[in-house]
Symmetry: C2
């Protein structure tokens, strides 16, 4: 069993009010080390078998058409995580 | 300038209707390779200087208190990305 992780973030020129709200809340918790916060989305797409090239191509198509809005969002990463014999993903 | 990336996903026992909606939409686009979809959040926390141990500790605290709801969500990864001389993050 494998997983494809798709990361989607708002484009830099998009305002991102959720990120701004988090940014404004951090100092109230005493966390003043951060200058900016952006909030995006993370999708885990599970496949039955291994993550093949065909699966990755499908994930790329899904990322560009369904998982992101290309007018306001960028797909910043598409990562394959193979599950190994130990039962944990991504360790071998 | 560095960045800390915080990934938050719904706990496995949580229903995740957004992920289910994506899962149901994929075959309608001809993308039938996926058995399950989960949707979570991805935060990019920017710092002025380097990502030090103190910054990472602050990011961990933010992740557990502000960026996730520990009753229904797991913080699945906290990753430091240092910006290098070439201007791109994470390449060296």
């Amino acid at each position: 069993m494998g997983t494809v992780i798709v990361d989607v973030m708002p484009k830099p020129e998009i305002l991102d009010p959720q990120g701004k709200a988090v940014r404004a809340a951090l100092p109230r918790l005493g966390l003043d080390g951060f200058t900016e916060v952006r909030q995006g989305k993370r999708f885990e797409l599970t496949v039955d078998g291994e993550v093949t090239e065909e699966v990755l191509a499908q994930a790329r198509q899904a990322a560009e058409t369904l998982l992101s809005n290309p007018i306001i969002e960028d797909v910043v990463a598409i990562t394959a995580v193979q599950e190994c014999a130990c039962g944990k993903g991504g360790c071998c």
